[in-house]
């Protein structure tokens, strides 16, 4: 986007507005006459002045028939004042302190907009001011650490978009099943969430309890997030806002995760060489597996080709290398993300409009990887008559990403890099690293008649051309017809079309293509035959999503019936999502001529030099299709008496093609009920301290569609033909499960809202109790059935928790200081589990798969009891029959849960945030501190069974701390190295008590510093400096790792932004 152009437009507009200027001044005071400093004077919503310490202000106004001034100050009721031309020069404005009324907050449910006052359910709102406190490309990751009850899963990285609302409600770990439903404006959003530009967002509402979510029915069991975009308003003047920011994200610290030093690795390879571990590979003259440089040197020494001295010198020269340094220097960089957004909105009596554009350009940490996005959006509202309102919106997103650098280099399909490898050779050129075959073989293979067969990773990054482009069109139409005094009908329609194209051109110069051509080359005397043509290999894939939703709804809003207020809606909805995909490959692709060549997919060709048995040229053609359809009916009503007693109820019924006929028929409606009592409105309520006290209670059901398991036996056809007979074939996916139902979640929520006089302190206390039933659990099955696991509705989960938030105005006036704090408590217990046939050891298997143990949290951390290292040989020991033992076979097959140590939950049971916002004159500072308590994690350590083998993987840094000699057990708990390896010994150690650590920590999440410059020639400017991932303030464990980021520290980021409104 051309910023000069934007600036030009902006200046033009400003010039028009400020054609003729008339000075206006005045004074703002409270109702005792005390001057108020820092009161904000707005003209047509634009800040034109602030008051000084004497409460005085001054600005120039354009000539107009009338002028609307708005005077506001934190803690006071805002006053509107209309001036008529010619203006009076001096104005005295008195502001009344906020006493009983908080600013009205609306909640957006996706079906209606409700004043928070009258909502019985549990809602949390994030307005765009809070959303824009953080700077980032996407919407979701900006919400981290801000919302009570919402916990982000940091295991997916610090920009994770994976979060839970009020803990987990399902046993299926996959994100599809456990993530909350995301609603954009009125309908569930099926596209890629990265398509949404945060600058277009007006409000985000989290629906937490049953009264809030049950309107969303069978997909609301994990909570709902409603994202509402900005719209123009009727009778509002045009406002223009501009926003530009740049974010710098440092390179990741590749030395953060402890790993063996290259020198240790070299010694370990020498040891393995002596043990003959590489002999099979060294002797293999058929497939020529990769041999690492140290082993090659040792082999030369053994064969007498090199002297011992020569070998030692050569090996010592490699000790100083460290691939992590090369990765950091050549594969990584500091990431730079730029974001620009412009919007115009406004409206007259019969029409309103909004037009916005956004541009993002991200250069990722990995060199040659990038993400670009362009957003264009328009939204129009028209009221042709008093009875009809029409809405139309169009949003178009184009994004493209390049994925040319995977950041990791491997030696072949199942072999990791060795740490003393180099990416650049001594001449500064891209270095050759072994790949697939032994280097000595590649040196001479083909006698010069094959294509270069070397692999130069740095060159591969340079040549890579792997791009994905996505286009998303979102179109919505709405009509609202007033049928009677308090009844209206509305129809809403949404259409979304998203197309994704990936194109991966594997150049002929690249290793992938050269290797493929060479493997299918036959040298027959002077004759050379190529089964795979020269030219690039083009891998392409395409995916189209089209979604349509149609909703018809009747709303009633009765507020003229004395003390009775009734508000209700009833509607029906039909939704259909269709996804079609295709992938394919072209050989001999020439991107200049746009040509490709045909290959023979039918016949098997000999592989060069018999490196493998005769093979087919890979055919990558594949197609896929998914259809998701829903039909739903719903109703919702709330009745208020005297604004004091409020009751509400909702019900919904869903049917879907995902469930199968049986489930659709067996269906029972999901419903909720709620009540709220405004005690402060009772005549008997006379508190000098409190201005508000209300109590609410809700109860109801929502569902969770787990479409991972169908109810009938299904098979899936392979997208290729069988290897030998060339027949179409399929694989059975799952056993029949006729009893399958969707999961359902019932929730009881009790809430109290309390506010002090003057609203200096407001608190919201909520207690909830959720029961998730018919949860689909995957259990280890009797292998004799032919299945490793079987899944069926088999478990129940009880969750209870509290969300407490408190907002205080600590000081008002010159220095304003506000605090927002929240604390969330969430704990769950598996209350029922219908299967008992599973092994105890599976509780340990992984922290990411869920094996429920009745009476324990879903994500429990169990471990083997630790009896220390054996002083004689450094073997890890556990307890068998009360005695220290090294019988790993029995130790790793515990008979009961009592044989394991239970630590606690792997998910924080207590978490929260503390945000302090200060403002002084034009400066404001906001600091957010977050904490997570009451959970455990397993630290990584050395695994000898993956280290001490021919295909060795670079081991953990604990290797250096291992037990080496008797007496070491006093200083270390890291087992000795043993060869031959015993995977059970490793397994026992990996899941032992000694590696479990407390995860509790307090983190300085982020800091935002802003400076406001009102009334500049380019509008009201705001400059922002934002920093994130600033580190931990405290942690409970003493291992040197961030408990939430054990394998990669979150990188510090710093952003600078400027925005303007006029």
């Amino acid at each position: 986007m051309n910023t000069n152009l934007l600036l030009g437009i902006l200046l033009c507009i400003h010039a028009t507005i400020s054609f003729a200027q008339h000075p206006i001044q005045g004074k703002v005071s409270d109702n005792n006459g005390t001057p108020l400093e820092n009161a904000i004077i707005r003209h047509d919503r634009t800040i034109v002045a602030y008051t000084d310490k004497d409460g005085l202000f001054k600005f120039n106004a354009p000539a107009a028939d009338s002028l609307l001034l708005t005077v506001s100050h934190l803690g006071y009721i805002t006053v509107d004042k209309t001036l008529h031309f010619p203006y009076e020069q001096y104005h005295v404005v008195q502001l009344t302190p906020l006493a009983n009324e908080l600013q009205e907050v609306n909640v957006y449910t996706g079906y209606q907009i409700l004043p928070k006052e009258r909502a019985t359910g549990s809602f949390e709102s994030v307005d765009n001011k809070l959303l824009n406190r953080q700077i980032g490309t996407d919407v979701i990751s900006r919400l981290n650490g801000l919302v009570p009850g919402v916990l982000f899963n940091h295991r997916q990285g610090d920009q994770s978009q994976w979060f839970n609302i009020r803990g987990i409600s399902t046993l299926t770990a996959s994100r599809d099943v456990s993530a909350p439903l995301i609603v954009l404006d009125n309908f569930p959003y099926e596209g890629n969430i990265d398509n949404i530009n945060p600058n277009d967002v007006e409000n985000i509402t989290f629906l937490k309890d049953a009264a809030a979510t049950s309107i969303w029915g069978a997909r609301a069991g994990n909570g709902v997030v409603v994202i509402t975009t900005k719209k123009g308003g009727y009778n509002t003047p045009m406002t223009v806002s501009l926003n530009a920011n740049v974010t710098l994200r440092e390179k990741p610290d590749l030395f953060y995760r402890p790993q063996m030093s290259p020198a240790e690795f070299i010694d370990m390879e020498s040891f393995l060489f002596e043990q003959g571990a590489f002999d099979a590979n060294l002797g293999n003259s058929r497939t020529w597996p990769v041999i690492t440089p140290v082993v090659e040197i040792l082999e030369k020494e053994r064969s007498g080709e090199w002297s011992a001295q020569q070998a030692r010198t050569a090996i010592d020269a490699l000790r100083a290398n460290d691939i992590r340094r090369d990765y950091s220097n050549y594969l990584y960089r500091n990431a730079i993300n730029q974001q620009y957004a412009l919007s115009l909105k406004g409206g007259a009596g019969k029409a309103n409009y909004l037009i916005s554009a956004g541009f993002d350009k991200n250069l990722e940490n990995l060199r040659r990887n990038s993400f670009d996005r362009i957003n264009l959006r328009s939204q129009l509202g028209i009221k042709p008559t008093d009875r009809i309102e029409l809405q139309a919106g169009l949003a178009y997103t184009i994004n493209s990403s390049a994925d040319n650098n995977s950041g990791e280099i491997r030696l072949g399909a199942n072999r990791g890099i060795y740490p003393y490898a180099r990416l650049v050779d001594e001449n500064g050129l891209p270095a050759i690293i072994e790949q697939d075959y032994r280097k000595g073989y590649v040196d001479t293979a083909g006698g010069g008649r094959l294509l270069d067969w070397y692999y130069r990773p740095l060159e591969e990054v340079r040549l890579a051309d792997n791009t994905t482009g996505m286009r998303d069109l979102l179109f919505n139409l709405g009509a609202n017809l007033r049928l009677a005094r308090s009844v209206n009908a509305e129809v809403k329609y949404m259409y979304e079309y998203q197309t994704t194209n990936q194109q991966h051109i594997r150049s002929e110069e690249g290793y992938f293509t050269r290797n493929l051509i060479n493997r299918f080359t036959q040298l027959d005397g002077d004759n050379i035959e190529y089964a795979v043509p020269f030219g690039a290999v083009l891998d392409h894939s395409m995916s189209n999503l089209s979604a349509q939703s149609l909703r018809t709804q009747f709303n009633a809003n009765i507020d003229w019936w004395g003390p009775h207020k009734l508000n209700g809606l009833v509607g029906g909805e039909i939704r259909s999502t269709m996804i079609r995909g295709a992938t394919g490959r072209q050989y001999g692709y020439d991107s200049d001529l746009m040509t490709a060549q045909a290959v023979d997919y039918i016949n098997r060709y000999p592989v060069y030099d018999g490196l493998a048995s005769n093979a087919l040229i890979p055919n990558m053609d594949a197609f896929s299709g998914r259809d998701i359809r829903f039909v739903s009916l719903y109703a919702n009503a709330a009745y208020a008496y005297n604004d004091k007693y409020i009751v509400s109820g909702s019900a919904r019924r869903d049917a879907s093609n995902l469930f199968g006929v049986e489930t659709n028929n067996k269906w029972k409606p999901l419903w909720s009920l709620g009540a709220k009592w405004r005690i402060d409105k009772e005549p008997f309520f006379k508190s000098p301290m409190l201005s508000r006290l209300s109590l609410g209670i809700t109860y109801g059901y929502s569902g969770n569609v787990n479409n991972s398991i169908p109810a009938v036996t299904t098979m899936i056809y392979s997208n290729s033909l069988s290897q030998l007979a060339r027949l179409s074939y399929g694989t059975i996916q799952n056993p029949p499960n006729p009893l399958l139902r969707w999961e359902n979640v019932s929730q009881l929520n009790v809430r109290a809202e309390i506010a002090s006089r003057n609203n200096r302190i407001t608190t919201n206390l909520e207690y909830y109790r959720k029961k998730s039933e018919d949860l689909i659990g995957a259990v280890n099955a009797d292998l004799t059935t032919g299945f490793m696991t079987s899944s069926t509705n088999s478990a129940s989960l009880l969750t209870h928790g509290m969300d407490i938030s408190i907002a205080t105005q600590n000081t008002v006036g010159k220095l304003s200081w506000n605090t927002n704090a929240f604390i969330s408590y969430n704990t769950n217990t598996v209350s029922e589990y219908l299967y008992d046939g599973y092994s105890i050891a599976s509780y340990l298997a992984s922290d990411n798969t869920i094996v429920p143990a009745v009476g324990y949290p879903v994500n429990s951390v169990f471990s083997y009891r630790w009896a220390g290292l054996d002083p004689a040989n450094g073997d890890p020991r556990g307890y068998l029959d009360g005695q220290p033992s090294t019988d790993y076979l029995r130790l790793t097959q515990p008979e009961g849960l009592e044989d394991l140590v239970f630590h606690g939950s792997a998910i924080p049971e207590v978490f929260g945030g503390l945000r302090n916002d200060f403002s002084y004159k034009n400066f404001s500072l906001s600091v957010n501190i977050t904490y997570r308590l009451g959970y455990f994690f397993r630290a990584e350590s050395i695994q000898y069974s993956t280290l001490l083998r021919p295909n060795t993987e670079w081991g953990h840094g604990d290797f250096a701390k291992r037990w080496k000699a008797p007496g070491d057990e006093r200083y270390t708990q890291v087992p000795s190295m043993r060869y031959p390896v015993d995977a059970r010994r490793d397994n026992f150690y990996a899941y032992s008590e000694i590696l479990v650590n407390k995860g509790d920590h307090i983190r300085l999440q982020d800091i935002n510093l802003s400076y406001h410059m009102p009334g500049t020639p380019v509008g009201n400017l705001k400059f922002t400096l934002y920093a994130r991932n600033l580190g931990l303030i405290w942690k409970a464990s003493d291992i040197g790792l961030d408990p939430d980021f054990p394998s990669m520290a979150p990188q510090r980021t710093i952003a600078f932004g400027v925005s303007s409104n006029f």
């Binding site: 002999d279 018999g610 896929s624 093609n657 006929v661 092994s839």
Partner: protein, 448 residues
């Protein structure tokens, strides 16, 4: 109101709500209920090639040197040295029963299709293939987890679980050895009734494959007359032999997959013994004459001096993976049975038929024997030489021959200076059932 609204909304997009909601969610998913679907399940070559390798890891045709053994994982180390307390890799059990489940799905679905006009032939063939698969897989499992068949000890020892329906809620329990073999024979006989003589593809069984599997089963049961009859029936349909004189020993692997000798193609679920580590047993290797073409075609000594096996019938270049059925096996079975039945000349004729295609033409001489036991000894030696590294055969042979004092074997492994011995008829000839299975089902473990 609600109903009419529902109707209204549905009307807007489709003719009827039921139809709208009947669309299957994933296009690639099918509910297996057409002949095409069932055939596609049966034609899954990957799942047909999930045969167990534990018997071969425990067999005596190869050895590992100390260094190679030290580099193996603990399961292979334990199985190689027949350690009493460890079962083989779980896949030996699981992948076989997975295929048995598939066969049961096909049998159940095909049963529902009986009577579709004009399709009887296809339905029969599909059922025949499924019966074959189930019997064949039960037979593989029986050689590992069921004690050897003994006509004398009926009904007492426990065989393998026989799962005969796709209902996963059925509890697995062990049948007796007699019931196990009765089921294998019944399944394979059903296959014989339903299958065409020869199948269009060697990855699909035909009658010849079913006869061959029956012959192998009866051989394991030491019912030599039945084994002869079925071997003979098989060879009447398929008796092609490769002439090793025509093969090129300089190729990485001189044998093509699906070559003329293959009756039914199947493979191990993995390559258990890479030819760069598993060395051919030196006694076995010394049995091949210089004129024996198998010595060059099967074996190769690599740069590290390891003489390994490269003559795999599935075309693999890394080690043995063929575990199906080929003419040579069945011919040797018929030869052995004929000699045991006293028809020595006919048996030796079969042996000569094989050797003519194995020994260099200029060095080949017809063998003849006066004594039946000499002929039998020679046939068993040729069986070892011909079928070494051929999946599933040597372990079965060891188990049955141990029942005859004359041919019993005492197996010895020497590892890191220690000797591990497997005596004839040792309980360890029956592997332990995977612990997970015993833990979940409570079925009886094999004795130690």
């Amino acid at each position: 109101m609600k109903r009419s609204l529902n109707y209204l909304t549905c009307l807007l997009l489709t003719a009827s709500c039921t139809e709208f909601l009947n669309e299957k969610p994933d296009r690639a998913l099918a509910i297996p209920n057409s002949l095409q679907d069932l055939q596609a399940i049966l034609d899954n070559e990957t799942r047909n090639s999930n045969l167990p390798d534990a018997g071969d890891i425990g067999s005596d045709y190869y050895y590992l040197d100390d260094r190679a053994w030290n580099g193996m994982n603990e399961t292979i180390r334990a199985n190689y040295s027949w350690l009493a307390d460890l079962p083989p890799a779980t896949n030996n059990w699981y992948l076989n029963y997975q295929r048995i489940f598939d066969a049961n799905v096909v049998l159940e679905a095909a049963g529902d299709m009986d009577g579709i006009d004009g399709k009887t032939g296809d339905i029969d063939r599909i059922k025949g293939e499924a019966y074959f698969l189930r019997g064949w897989m039960f037979c593989q499992l029986a050689q590992l987890f069921s004690p050897p068949f003994g006509a004398d000890d009926q009904n007492t020892p426990l065989g393998i679980p026989l799962r005969l329906t796709p209902d996963i809620n059925d509890v697995s329990y062990r049948s007796t050895v007699t019931e196990t073999y009765r089921q294998i024979i019944s399944d394979l006989n059903a296959a014989v009734q339903l299958l065409p003589d020869a199948s269009a593809y060697k990855t699909r069984p035909g009658k010849a494959a079913a006869y061959a599997a029956l012959s192998r089963t009866y051989l394991a049961m030491r019912d030599y007359e039945s084994a002869f009859l079925y071997a003979d029936s098989c060879l009447a349909i398929h008796n092609a032999l490769l002439d090793y004189n025509q093969l090129d020993s300089t190729k990485s692997n001189p044998f093509e997959p699906l070559n003329a000798e293959v009756i039914y193609h199947a493979r191990f679920f993995s390559i258990p013994l890479f030819n760069s580590t598993a060395r051919v047993d030196s006694n076995l290797y010394s049995l091949y004459d210089e004129a024996d073409l198998r010595k060059q075609l099967f074996y190769h000594t690599n740069n590290a001096g390891v003489t390994g096996f490269y003559g795999d019938y599935s075309g693999s270049v890394s080690g043995p993976s063929f575990a199906g059925i080929a003419t040579d096996e069945i011919l040797l079975t018929r030869a052995e049975c004929l000699v045991r039945m006293g028809r020595i000349d006919e048996g030796v004729r079969d042996l000569n038929m094989l050797l003519r295609n194995r020994i260099s033409t200029d060095a080949f001489h017809e063998l003849s024997f006066a004594e039946g036991h000499d002929a039998l000894d020679r046939i068993l030696i040729e069986r070892r030489k011909e079928l070494a590294f051929r999946g599933g055969i040597r372990w079965m042979d060891l188990r049955r021959l141990n029942k005859e004092g004359r041919h019993e074997e005492r197996l010895i492994r020497r590892i890191n200076g220690e000797e591990y011995i497997l005596e004839p008829n040792d309980a360890r000839y029956t592997w332990l059932i995977p612990f997970e299975v015993v833990q979940i089902t409570g079925m009886a473990q094999n004795p130690r």
